[in-house]
């Protein structure tokens, strides 16, 4: 029997109710996350990766709403849960790290006060005990002189330090899952490397599952075991990270990887995908990628392809499924 995953998202649809009808931000999103697993969510701006992250904790702000599907966390559906029950899970069992640390930290409260408050919201313990937990987490994220930091305010810390504090806050209540939305995008490369290494180390140490949302394929390949590629609100490819990075199946994923300067010959023209991601207001019919795809056929223009399996990777692309069919025929003809 297959063991149930820690988190399972099934056929999730998220829409935004705006004047002139609903816009579909996520369509038929399905994936799972096992205990201690690290999953990367990749895509360009507008692909829906942040909406996906927010909707897991049922945090999509109005006019957005979950229009269908399930988000099963340990068998319970977060999409159908009451706000009170959700609050017991948010920040406690599932923690979130955002891109901009100043958005998460309250500028008028000291670091210690904010951390203690977060603990006491979920546990009935003394302030002293809560402070000890806070101190322990600050040590864990390797902040120099952690005792001093407890009494400092966010503006007194550098960007890298603040992001460490945020990670410490995420770890306060020993969550099962950390959802990190572009945690290092605002930071310099050397700091980014440090923060990523730290996050990876902490997740491995405590067997915490990580959902990492990023546009940086290099980071995904360094940190995650499996990855999802999103385009225009859909998952177009998912599977083991190494397999996708080395041998991407979907033309969009291939294009994304080949467009990286590190893939091209220095000085030569880079591979480029023509056009740009469609806006939610006019998502093309059929496969949303077809206007930019060099393999597009009439079939692609009319219907959205189903997922097919290639190796351990699920891909939604007619070109790939046709190739697989052809191979099958060849093998049958051969035998």
């Amino acid at each position: 029997m297959k063991k149930t995953p820690l988190l399972e998202v099934k056929d999730l649809d998220v829409r935004f109710a705006v004047r002139g009808g609903d816009l579909t931000a996520l369509r038929g999103i399905s994936f799972s996350l096992d205990k201690g697993e690290r999953l990367g969510l990749v895509g360009e701006s507008g692909a829906g990766k942040s909406v996906a992250a927010f909707s897991i904790l049922n945090l999509v702000a109005r006019p957005g709403y979950i229009a269908g599907g399930q988000i099963l966390f340990e068998g319970r559906d977060l999409a159908a849960m009451s706000e009170r029950e959700l609050r017991k899970i948010r920040g406690n069992r599932i923690a979130m790290i955002f891109q901009d640390p100043m958005m998460t930290l309250n500028p008028v409260l000291s670091i210690g006060t904010q951390m203690v408050e977060a603990i006491k919201a979920h546990r009935r313990i003394s302030t002293k005990a809560a402070r000890d937990i806070a101190l322990d987490r600050l040590r864990k994220v390797q902040i120099p002189s952690p005792e001093k930091r407890l009494d400092q305010y966010p503006h007194e810390l550098s960007g890298g330090m603040r992001q460490r504090v945020i990670i410490a806050v995420a770890l306060l209540l020993d969550p099962e899952i950390i959802i990190a939305d572009e945690p290092t995008t605002a930071l310099d490369v050397t700091i980014q490397a440090e923060i990523m290494a730290l996050l990876l180390e902490l997740c491995e140490q405590d067997n915490v599952a990580l959902m990492l949302i990023t546009h940086d394929l290099g980071v995904v390949s360094q940190v995650t075991q499996r990855m999802l590629v999103m385009y225009s609100g859909r998952i177009i490819e998912q599977g083991p990270t190494r397999e996708i990075i080395n041998d991407a199946q979907h033309p969009y994923t291939q294009g994304l990887i080949n467009a990286l300067p590190q893939m091209g010959e220095p000085g030569a023209r880079l591979f480029q995908i023509p056009g740009s991601m469609p806006s939610l207001k006019n998502v093309p019919t059929g496969c949303p990628f077809h206007p930019r795809c060099r393999f597009a056929t009439d079939q692609c223009r009319q219907t959205m392809p189903e997922y097919v399996r290639s190796g351990n990777v699920d891909v939604a692309c007619y070109e790939v499924s046709n190739l697989i069919e052809q191979e099958k025929h060849m093998q049958e003809a051969g035998s």
């Binding site: 360009e44 701006s45 550098s158 890298g160 330090m161 310099d188 490369v189 050397t190 700091i191 980014q192 490397a193 440090e194 990523m196 290494a197 990876l200 546009h215 940086d216 394929l217 290099g218 980071v219 390949s221 360094q222 940190v223 190494r242 990075i245 294009g255 994304l256 990887i257 467009a259 990286l260 300067p261 590190q262 893939m263 091209g264 220095p266 000085g267 023209r269 880079l270 591979f271 480029q272 995908i273 023509p274 740009s276 991601m277």
Partner: protein, 336 residues
């Protein structure tokens, strides 16, 4: 060797933090004190940009790379030092004398959402610099020129009557590039031109910049924090740290054989597709504030190879066998 197109000599730039005289004065311990503070953004930079090359300046936030770009363009005046264009000193020019250089040197900015006037159509945006710099051209000629640059950056000339907000980020950056190209410049300063764009769009814009360089014989000063882009795009690279150049080399040499400890750390921090784990050289501490610069080598506080000399004496850029120029005592002494 031919003379460089751009010659930056001993450039320094400080930004005053302390305000007016009255704000500087304080009364402490029974006496008046006057305290002046400044951000030392650039502290003695010498760089040459040769015709036809793309010199990339890289570094992390606060290293002074954008200040160098702006000072070269004349948007900021240097506190000390000189900027020469094709043998002519340009940082002290006044009034009308600057105009010819304004045409020859153009700039592309990071954020295409901020660099286009929201109240002007694309046609107006592109016509304005041509009209200003080439008053001799007839209306028809101006329009032809606009058509030509729009086509060359891949924007449909029929879209001229649209406004900036009707375009995506990548398209806006193309328009910003078209505006720079409209006056037939020789030299372009691009300050993080692709940092605000998505990966697939970055490739489009980089290709466009390279095509423009080929067809129009341009010289670039390219400011970026993204080393992967530098490796692809740059002819030579200058690595900056706290307002100083710490290493200057051909792109290939720099990536194959980084000499300065900071360059080594910076290169190791690029997340590479082939890596299974973060794999980088860890530096101690953080970048110090440019208000109180460290003595000696600005990098000494974070450098694993620092010794007493590094703490006291400022290292100069010294040529090595491979042609790389490095400002590091450890390299000079053969310790590294």
């Amino acid at each position: 060797m031919t003379s460089p197109l751009i010659d930056i000599r001993g450039l320094e730039k400080q930004f005053d933090l302390s305000g007016s005289f009255l704000e500087q004065v304080s009364f402490k311990g029974g006496r008046f004190q006057r305290k002046q503070e400044a951000v030392h953004a650039i502290n003695g930079v010498d760089l040459q940009v040769h015709k036809g090359e793309a010199l990339c300046v890289v570094g992390e936030s606060g290293c002074g790379k954008s200040t160098v770009a702006r000072t070269v363009m004349g948007l900021l005046s240097p506190t000390a030092g000189e900027v020469h264009y094709d043998g002519q000193r340009i940082d002290n020019l006044k009034g009308r004398e600057v105009l010819p250089y304004r045409r020859k040197m153009q700039m592309i900015f990071q954020n295409p959402y901020a660099s286009l006037n929201p109240r002007m159509t694309i046609q107006q945006t592109l016509e304005e610099p041509i009209r200003f710099h080439r008053p001799d051209l007839a209306r028809k000629e101006v329009r032809d020129k606009v058509q030509e640059v729009m086509q060359s950056v891949g924007i449909d000339p029929d879209w001229g009557s649209r406004f900036g907000h009707e375009f995506s980020g990548g398209q806006r950056q193309r328009i910003a590039i078209a505006r720079a190209l409209a006056v037939d410049p020789e030299f372009i300063v691009a300050d993080e031109p692709i940092s605000a764009l998505d990966v697939s769009i970055q490739a489009q814009v980089l290709n466009l910049l390279m095509d423009a360089q080929d067809t129009r014989n341009l010289t670039y000063l390219f400011i970026t924090h993204d080393l992967a882009v530098v490796e692809h795009f740059g002819t030579r690279v200058a690595v900056m740290y706290l307002g100083r150049v710490c290493e200057l080399a051909d792109t290939k040499t720099l990536f194959a054989e980084p000499r300065h400890p900071y360059t080594q750390a910076l290169l190791s921090a690029i997340p590479r597709l082939e890596d299974d784990r973060p794999n980088y050289i860890k530096l101690q501490g953080e970048v110090p504030t440019p208000v109180n610069l460290p003595s000696g080598c600005v990098f000494h506080g974070r450098c694993p190879y620092a010794n007493e000399r590094c703490r006291q004496e400022v290292p100069r850029l010294i040529a090595t066998d491979s042609g790389t120029r490095v400002a590091c005592h450890a390299v000079e002494e053969g310790r590294l």
